[in-house]
């Protein structure tokens, strides 16, 4: 059991990493980015392309791909999300949904349906592990991913609270009109926030490719895991995202121990339980929730 718990915690690091950008975009820009998973897969494909075509290690490739992801995030915000946000809260969601479809199909057209992985390009790191007492094997890559997630979340927290740009981003997220009146260029702040979110997505995509396989349509699954981790941890809370990722991963690993098909079901169950508890304790109560859903249905 202790082995499952340790593996679950380490896997939670990856989920926190992939949920981080989603949570950041939601908390700062109030946008639920349904293209999140597809953008992570795009990053993985970019690293795979650099590695297979130019023999650039995925870790070195990050020096090229992460700045590119930042530019993509900046451009997405400036030319797509900002404009769609003028049409109401629903339009950016539909826009990112459409974007996900475009990315998936462009990747399919360019790379075909074959499953790929970055594992062959990182030597033995993909399977190397340390043996702990009690025959517990801890993967080196899993530890690297977990430590990266903690550093990234901590760094983002420090950036938002200790720097002028971070304060500007928080101010814009709280009240963009007033932010402008105190001298904050809200459009610039949001574009930078989108660029930061995309860098985290790029990093998550890299680790996705190193620890598992991916194909052009793998984005939807990654989006689901990111969404579940973000909701479990409390959407918008950076450290909550880490907790959410760990809870999701623990539920999955424990679910897998109970039943071979319990991996996904365990995660979904944990997500639904947390979601139900959150809604129930939101002040509406069970009857209120039922009335709300009935009212919306009619």
């Amino acid at each position: 059991m202790s082995n499952q718990i340790i593996q679950g915690i380490l896997l939670g690091g990856y989920y926190a990493l992939i949920a981080c950008g989603l949570s950041f975009m939601f908390s700062v820009m109030r946008i639920i980015n349904l293209a999140h998973g597809s953008l992570a897969v795009l990053s993985a494909f970019a690293l795979w392309f650099l590695a297979s075509r130019f023999h650039i290690s995925p870790f070195l490739g990050l020096a090229i791909v992460l700045p590119l992801m930042a530019v993509i995030g900046w451009a997405l915000q400036r030319f797509l999300l900002e404009r769609s946000a003028r049409g109401g809260a629903l339009l950016p969601i539909l826009t990112t949904f459409g974007l996900a479809i475009v990315i998936d199909n462009v990747l399919f057209e360019q790379f075909g349906a074959d499953t790929r992985s970055l594992a062959p390009f990182i030597g033995s790191l993909s399977y190397d592990s340390w043996e702990w007492p009690g025959s517990i094997f801890v993967g080196k890559l899993a530890v690297i991913i977990f430590v990266t997630a903690v550093i990234l979340l901590g760094g983002l927290q420090l950036f938002l609270t200790r720097t002028g740009l971070g304060r500007s981003i928080r101010a814009t997220s709280e009240d963009p009109d007033t932010a402008g009146l105190v001298g904050v260029d809200s459009r610039r702040a949001m574009a930078i926030a989108a660029a930061i979110a995309m860098v985290t997505v790029g990093l998550a995509g890299a680790f996705l490719g190193m620890r598992a396989t991916f194909d052009p349509y793998a984005g939807a699954t990654q989006l689901l895991f990111a969404f579940e981790a973000a909701v479990i941890g409390g959407a918008g809370s950076l450290w909550g995202t880490l907790v959410g990722g760990i809870v999701l991963a623990l539920a999955q690993t424990l679910g897998a121990k109970i039943h071979p098909q319990g991996f996904l079901i365990g995660g979904h169950l944990a997500f639904l339980i947390v979601l139900f508890v959150r809604l129930y304790t939101s002040g509406l109560g069970l009857r209120g929730l039922l009335r709300l859903s009935a009212g919306k249905a009619s």
Partner: protein, 242 residues
């Protein structure tokens, strides 16, 4: 040359014309009190100067430069700071963080967090408190301090006494008096006519989007302003183009 010149300014909210062809000027070091009933267009005028509303017609000239199309954050950089009605603090941030946001525009000047805390001593023990947890007076002081942190040439104060007890209003105005005496140019929207006349060098009364009365505070009586306030008297008492 006036620090601020408003020329035939028209502001619309949809079909409603909130400001109707207003013209006036403000010299450096002046304190202009803007009075008028609710809906007269005072807040809209102030927000238009700050760049929160775009003009349908007319111009806002600041230091001789036309501000048409200049966004609000750029106007702060040029030296215009607004203390908005209702304070509009970032309630999830601390007092210090709100004040530091005022420095985003990067204008050089003497205002610092410590100087604001010296000017508003009631904020000192609340420096690290979230703005949402402050009293009304503390929030108002933070909002004024945040605007001062941008080292403005022109300070726009929109109903700083709104929702505050008389004692707290006295404290806020006592703090502002130092600013007015130091030569900071201020446009002040105020409902309290006595206070408006006592702290300002010029007064302007708005009615239904137009200037109903404008003149030196020393030469305009409270009775004249009251009549203009209710649309019973239209007069330019001299000293200002109207």
């Amino acid at each position: 040359m006036s620090l601020l010149s408003i020329e035939d300014l028209v502001i619309r909210h949809g079909l409603l014309q909130a400001v109707r062809g207003v013209s006036f000027g403000v010299e450096r070091g002046e304190t202009l009190a803007l009075v008028g009933a609710n809906g007269a267009g005072k807040t809209t005028l102030l927000r238009a100067i700050a760049g929160a509303h775009q003009a349908a017609a007319g111009r806002v000239l600041f230091d001789g430069t036309d501000l048409s199309g200049v966004p609000s954050h750029e106007r702060v950089r040029r030296g215009i700071a607004l203390v908005p009605e209702g304070r509009r603090l970032f309630v999830q941030m601390t007092v210090e963080e709100n004040l530091l946001l005022g420095r985003t525009a990067g204008r050089p000047g003497d205002w610092s967090v410590d100087r604001v805390l010296d000017t508003f001593p009631n904020l000192k023990p609340r420096r690290h408190a979230k703005a949402g947890h402050l009293s009304g007076g503390e929030q108002q002081a933070t909002a004024i301090g945040r605007a001062l942190m941008s080292n403005p040439d022109l300070l726009l104060l929109d109903e700083v006494s709104l929702g505050l007890s008389p004692l707290v209003v006295d404290r806020v105005y006592a703090s502002l008096q130092g600013l007015m005496n130091s030569g900071t140019t201020i446009i002040l929207v105020e409902q309290d006519l006595n206070r408006a006349l006592s702290v300002s060098s010029k007064v302007m009364c708005m009615l239904e989007g137009r200037i109903a009365l404008a003149g030196d505070s020393s030469s305009v009586s409270r009775d004249e302003v009251t009549k203009a306030y209710f649309g019973l008297h239209r007069k330019n008492a001299g000293g200002m183009p109207a």
